[in-house]
Symmetry: C2
Subunit: 297 residues, 2 copies
């Protein structure tokens, strides 16, 4: 595995590879590091489907608000590098902030509508930062495929829409959320939970499991569904709900209040964000048409 | 010359070419059509410097304001195609609006600061549309070099900054403004001028010629310079000044009011926009450090 900390090194490695193996498929796994099994599953999939794999590890300041956890976001470059190498990554791109943003960035890639709900509403500017840094990575690496985890389902929706709107020539691969044995979605932020918070955090996954069943009930509408979802999560005394939502996916538009959920012809997302102490966790389920739940996605 | 009206045709042609001639250099000349000798000079330069040349002709609705001249902007696809072929263009990309924007575009590439003066101030949203469509063309064509005319000097500054901020792997080539024999900068919009407007429109170039001299005068400051520039243009009775500015280039920031122009260590731009009837014309000169005027740029 070759580790690149500068754009120039990265470009040289990619040029060498592309010259030596024209027509081969490049896969990108963009991450913020502090890698866990969820990231490993993206790397494995990229490795299976591509001839050459690039992992990027970059905690992007542009996607953190002024009162968010950029400074305390967990980092462990050595462990990340070892895990990347174990997963057969060809190039690890690990720039620092001044390498990615050598001058004040005046350019932003902004999306409307699909960024206005869920985490986009709770974290103003977050998806502008995501769109901008993902554009930069796509330009630097020019991957044929890029792998994103569905734990961040809105991020997937935003990146897919950006790719389509701006005619990027990359295929976005949706990868299933990985979970701990008790169902908690894997996240780099889980390390911040204390013992009691960690115990109660399983309410996210159990709420989603229940909610998948409620969605099938005759006469169930979005307002009733969301009320029941919030009540269920409220059973965990430490849970401070940011949102508990039901929307169309990937458009992230509202359902009509009086529409029976079973009548929806589009996939839906059940999406929740809950704070435990200082730690904000998110999780979701995509419910496909005809109430076939997408397995693990 | 191959004419492509869809993105799919364009991608197929480019893929065929890149497969057959790996490592060869692709040049792009992005235009809004109604081609004149200025465009021809871009095509010639691209042809000299690149192995494969793409001309795009697309009147981009995103860069026109609601009260601007999108509908009446001059178009002549047949003449454009003939001129492109005469200039040795390999692929002419000529999509219609529904091909470029098949769904409502939710994504915008926005720039701050460098878009806030000159035409960015007079035409709100204009450069958002430029950044967005140029990003799309860069993604579709993946050129090694892209050729832009310095008549639109702010557009060049915006595109250069976007390329640098977003790590696009394309080199932007600044090409000199071409002029009619009496000095009027060539523009597709010149056809809208009536006889008297056309006669008076030469005031733009003569003002810039004078202004280059004023800039060398000892003690000359920006406020005095701009006042003199506006007065000079005001000699043409039909001239309705939108702006007559002096700024740093390419940052488009103000000079200190009390600074002698000769003390500037950065290149400056003298930029003017003037309406004659319904037709808005722009022109500029870049004045390099030490008052060496950039020849024709």
């Amino acid at each position: 595995m070759i580790v690149c900390t500068t754009k120039q090194q990265l470009k040289e490695q990619l040029a060498l590879y592309k010259e030596g193996f024209p027509g081969s498929r490049v896969g990108l796994v963009p991450t913020m590091g502090f890698l866990h099994e969820g990231h490993a599953s993206l790397m494995k999939r990229a490795k299976e489907e591509c001839d050459f794999t690039v992992l990027s590890v970059f905690v992007n300041p542009l996607q953190f608000g002024p009162n968010e956890d950029f400074d305390r976001y967990p980092r462990d470059k050595q462990r990340d590098a070892a895990l990347a190498e174990n997963n057969g990554i060809d190039v690890l791109f690990m720039p620092d902030v001044s390498e990615m943003y050598p001058t004040k960035p005046l350019t932003r890639v902004l999306l409307s509508e699909v960024t206005e709900r869920l985490c986009g509403a709770s974290r103003p500017g977050h998806f502008d930062g995501v769109g901008t840094v993902v554009s930069k990575l796509f330009h630097l690496i020019q991957p044929d495929r890029a792998y994103f985890g569905m734990k961040d389902a809105q991020q997937v929706a935003v990146v897919e829409r950006m790719v389509s709107d701006l005619d990027f020539s990359v295929e976005i691969i949706r990868c299933p959320t990985l979970r701990e044995s008790d169902g908690l979605a894997m996240s780099s932020r889980n390390v911040f939970l204390n013992e009691e918070e960690r115990r109660q955090a399983i309410i996210l996954n159990s709420a989603l499991e229940q909610a998948e069943q409620w969605a099938k009930e005759p006469g169930m509408t979005a307002p009733l569904f969301k009320e029941r979802l919030s009540s269920y999560i409220g059973q965990a005394p430490l849970a401070d709900i940011d949102y508990a939502e039901l929307l169309h996916y990937p458009d992230l538009t509202d359902l009509p209040d009086d529409m029976e959920l079973a009548a929806s012809t589009q996939p839906l997302i059940i999406a929740i964000a809950v704070r435990f102490g200082d730690t904000r966790l998110i999780d979701n389920r995509i419910v496909e048409q005809k109430w076939r739940c997408a397995p693990h996605v």
